[in-house]
């Protein structure tokens, strides 16, 4: 490892523009002639649209156009779709209802877009939006998935009887039933995974520009995957054919999953730009974000775990109701199925598992993948069950886990996944040591003397990243492949551009991807540029989510670098009159091994482009492309330990210490990896203690601003103790597993296990706000 190579703690190249205010986000973009859009949204959770009157709005100052769903339909713009087909256990396909980018006959959640107004200024667009008169006939709404299938519940889409989208099974029901029959102990729990709002700090935005002369569209959008946006908008929404549509995702201010999906607004801005003849920009305000960004989680689960006399797990039964909201968002069906139930084996040897998942429509915002996506829900089920079991058996939670750990690899679980490598005991040991687990009793006694309840809780998570291979996910219903592309361009002066289909919205790719190039060729980081986020520059890519950019995106770069290296060595061998097998690359120089003959990197590059003296038959230039399709998922895993103090008088929880011991395989930049863990932990702790999206029974979102939805603040969190161990992933050339979601996956059960340990009651819902904890303490006493 050099000072800028793989494994080095390099400060980020991209930081300079962000710390000087020179970042370029969608809202910072200005196009000549650009005008502003405001959406008229449904104030009702469920209603028929009887009449839309736009006359008054059309006459307002500055108004350029007021457009409705009927006009959008007439222009052939398609419905939004879910791109992952799930079949119910009876073999029937999932029941997807229609989702028009602008509703024209019925609205199904508060925030459903109905009309768009385009005006000279943002203020004028909003003023005119308020003047649009829509007559609704209100219908009964349902917000709770557990009630949406009841008799008499409102029918949300005609396609989905009883609001049931699919009823899906995984595992083996007979084997599991047999295992339960001979079990010595059975642990049962009802578990709710609370609904969350992702809340990337940059609100979603779109700028659509139709160029009449070229009959060409450009869309600047806050996307984690601009190429997928272009594909979907071309193939399904009929906005424009791919060659007539350029999608640019410039600097994007966080995503956490919520910016994977294609939303109505970017489609409408492009269409409205053609309709009105002006470029159209829309930027969400925070309440629009709360109302319309895809939410996360919202699972209701009943789980039963069977153990033998020796406390070894013999079977697991899980039944989950997943609330998917009013419409099926782009990957909403995959989250509670292949990203959730396939992780229900946790870190443990479980011979028989059976899980049933029902996905259900409600009159709430669409729900889709949010940081971790299914894996936090699975981990919460498993790790609450393990902790509860240990308490029921009266044995140490660490020992119960250790007894059941998978210890030999590869390990085939009963729920599809084949774990390739790991050392779960190593993470557990590291976390117990770092948290001084052995000294906890003393600390608890000291807290008791202050009148505080001290508790400790752990969570041993496993997740799956870099979903792959494409053929396998295709067979499971995915509408896309999950490979990644890379192009490495060596310029004539030796500087290098790497074009990648991954997209950075905080992950630091401009630094880590360049470190990979530095490691290979020894060229300084400053001479390497990473190009991403523009469909005109990068041919195709699948974007960034599911911690795939390292394991999949960087592996594609490695493949392209292999090809560049091979050609560079051929050129150098020719220039140096040596055998290409004898050429080595060190510190930016191509050398003949064991001699002082060498050619600097830039001279070799120049030779490739002057083409005055190339090996016979070789094409000029030095540019290579690769597509990489992994052979398997990767399996990051680790152990988190949380220690809390609860004030029994107020129910207030303080996190005294949080330890994370992760195994991410090989690491490119430890500083960036630690940052990813910190951020994930904050989101997971936020879920456990503070965050929750609440609808009232009429379908109004009560938590639609930062006044009502509690975001984790600096004072809510401790500094974290993080460390990593390493069992390299055998499935990709870099041995990388991925680190983006672990913190959010592993932390909620550690926090809740700690609080329930402190208060001596196992019945505690998330978020464990002071009033919830206080009530749990009182309930346990009576």
């Amino acid at each position: 490892m050099g000072i800028e190579g793989v494994g080095a703690r390099v400060a980020r190249k991209e930081d300079k523009r962000f710390i000087t205010g020179a970042g370029r986000y969608v809202d910072d973009m200005v196009v000549p002639g650009m005008k502003h859009a405001a959406f008229v949204r449904s104030p009702h959770a469920h209603a028929q649209i009887k009449k839309i009157d736009v006359k008054k709005a059309q006459g307002m100052p500055g108004v350029i156009g007021v457009l409705t769903g009927k006009e959008l339909k007439a222009d052939g713009i398609g419905n939004l779709i879910c791109g992952w087909m799930i079949h119910s256990k009876d073999g029937s396909p999932m029941k997807m209802g229609a989702w028009s980018p602008l509703a024209f006959d019925r609205v199904r959640y508060v925030g459903d877009a109905v009309v768009v107004v385009v005006a000279e200024t943002k203020g004028q667009a909003r003023d005119a939006a308020e003047a649009v008169e829509i007559t609704y006939k209100e219908l009964k709404a349902v917000v709770d998935a557990s009630k949406a299938m009841d008799k008499g519940a409102p029918q949300i889409h005609p396609e989905a009887d009883n609001n049931l989208i699919f009823d899906w099974d995984i595992g083996n029901a007979d084997d599991t039933a047999a295992a339960f029959k001979k079990a010595a102990h059975v642990v049962k729990m009802d578990i709710i995974n609370n609904r969350l709002v992702p809340n990337a700090m940059e609100p979603r935005a779109a700028l659509g520009h139709y160029d009449k002369a070229e009959d060409h569209y450009t869309c600047w959008t806050t996307s984690q995957n601009p190429h997928v946006a272009r594909l979907v908008m071309s193939a399904f929404y009929n906005v424009a054919p791919e060659n007539k549509l350029r999608v640019i995702a410039p600097d994007v201010g966080g995503g956490f999953g919520s910016k994977i999906y294609i939303y109505p607004e970017e489609i409408v801005c492009l269409w409205a730009s053609k309709k009105t003849g002006v470029p159209v920009k829309w930027v969400a305000d925070r309440t629009e974000s709360f109302l319309t960004d895809a939410h996360g989680r919202d699972h209701h689960t009943h789980a039963e775990m069977a153990f033998d006399e020796d406390h070894k797990i013999v079977g697991l039964k899980v039944e989950t109701q997943a609330n998917l909201g009013a419409y099926m968002s782009l990957f909403s069906s995959a989250t509670p199925t292949y990203l959730y139930a396939t992780l229900l084996s946790g870190q443990y040897n479980i011979p028989a598992i059976h899980a049933n998942v029902k996905a259900i429509y409600t009159n709430t915002a669409p729900v889709d993948a949010y940081r971790g996506a299914g894996r936090p829900e699975a981990t919460f089920v498993m790790e609450r069950m393990m902790e509860t079991a240990a308490r029921q058996f009266g044995i140490s939670p660490a020992e119960l886990r250790r007894k059941n750990f998978v210890t030999s690899f590869p390990h085939q679980t009963p729920v599809i996944m084949c774990y390739d490598a790991g050392d779960y005991a190593a993470s557990l040991d590291a976390a117990m040591k770092a948290s001084d687990y052995a000294g906890f009793a003393k600390r608890k006694a000291a807290a008791a003397r202050k009148g505080l309840l001290r508790g400790i809780g752990m969570s041993c998570y496993i997740e799956a990243c870099g979903i792959a291979p494409s053929a396998a996910v295709g067979s499971l219903g995915a509408g896309v492949g999950l490979w990644e592309s890379a192009e490495v361009r060596v310029n004539a002066v030796g500087t290098i551009e790497v074009l990648t289909g991954s997209h950075s919205h905080g992950q630091g790719h401009e630094t880590t991807f360049a470190q990979l190039v530095n490691e290979r060729f020894g060229v300084p980081l400053d001479s390497v540029s990473i190009v991403h986020g523009d469909t005109d520059k990068v041919q195709m890519g699948m974007g960034t989510y599911g911690s795939r950019s390292g394991a999949v995106g960087m592996s594609a770069i490695v493949k392209a670098l292999d090809k560049v290296e091979a050609k560079a060595k051929k050129i150098a061998a020719h220039l140096l009159e040596a055998d290409e097998g004898d050429i080595i690359i060190e510190n930016g120089t191509l050398k003949v091994a064991g001699t002082d003959k060498n050619v600097p990197w830039f001279q070799m590059a120049l030779a490739a482009y002057t083409a005055h003296n190339l090996p016979g038959g070789m094409e000029p230039g030095l540019k290579e492309t690769a597509f990489y399709d992994p052979s398997n998922f990767t399996f990051p895993a680790g152990c988190y330990i949380c220690e809390v103090e609860v004030d029994p008088e107020t129910g207030m929880t303080e996190i005294i210490q949080f330890v994370a011991a992760d195994d991410f395989g090989n690491i490119i930049n430890p500083m960036i990896v630690e940052g990813q863990v910190h951020g994930g932990l904050a989101q997971g702790i936020g879920q456990a203690l503070l965050e929750g999206a609440h609808y009232d029974n009429s379908g109004q979102l009560l938590t639609a601003s930062y006044m009502d939805y509690t975001m984790p603040r600096a004072s809510d969190l401790p500094s974290f103790k993080v460390s990593t161990s390493n069992t390299p992933c055998p499935g990709n050339p870099l041995g990388i597993k991925g680190c983006g979601e672990a913190g959010a996956i592993g932390s909620p059960p550690a926090v809740i296990n700690a609080i329930t340990d402190a208060i001596g009651s196992n019945d505690l819902a998330m978020p464990a706000s002071p009033s919830t904890v206080w009530a749990a303490i009182r309930a346990a006493k009576h």
Binding site: I19, D27, A200, R286, H678, Y706, M711, P712, S715, L717
Partner: protein
């Protein structure tokens, strides 16, 4: 419409703005200073913090006409030419930013915080003072580290200057 006249980042600027125009929108849209961000509608997130007459202010909670006559420093005006401000440098060195969206507000809040605490800062104070700034990426861990480090650097520089003056 009203005339708004300000000193922004050392330059005198003026323009007409609707009475309802917020300072943040005047900075972004009239002056093109897009480093100051809008992250919420309710003055909680702090992405829009700038300095008005030497004090950290959420520029979404002030009208442009209210600010007229004031001296404003935005994130674009913090560095001294090519030399980063110590807080900017500390955010980079300690990885105190990821997506960068909250960063300008964080840095403007931090410089104000450090200048109000010449005696130095501790972790609890930094965390309490960050109440009005939300970050979704970093978990605050490295932001806190960066502010503490910048506070130390700046107090050393201040002591050095005081010594020179003496």
């Amino acid at each position: 419409m009203s005339d708004v006249s300000l000193m922004v980042n050392g330059k005198r600027v003026s323009g007409a703005a609707e009475d309802r125009t917020l300072l943040v929108h005047f900075l972004r849209e009239n002056l093109g200073l897009t480093g100051t961000h809008v992250g919420c509608d309710t003055s909680q997130c702090g992405a829009c913090v700038v300095h008005v007459d030497g004090k950290a202010v959420k520029s979404c909670s002030m009208l442009a006409v209210q600010a007229s006559g004031s001296t404003v420093v935005t994130i674009e005006g913090l560095a001294n030419g090519a030399d980063l401000h110590p807080v900017q440098a500390a955010f980079k060195e300690h990885h105190g930013l990821q997506c960068g969206f909250c960063t300008p507000g964080m840095i403007m809040t931090a410089t104000d915080m450090i200048s109000r605490h010449p005696e130095g800062l501790d972790e609890a104070t930094v965390r309490a003072e960050l109440e009005g700034n939300i970050c979704r990426c970093t978990g605050y861990h490295n932001i806190v580290k960066a502010i503490l480090a910048a506070s130390k650097t700046m107090s050393k520089v201040a002591k050095g200057k005081a010594k020179q003056a003496a």
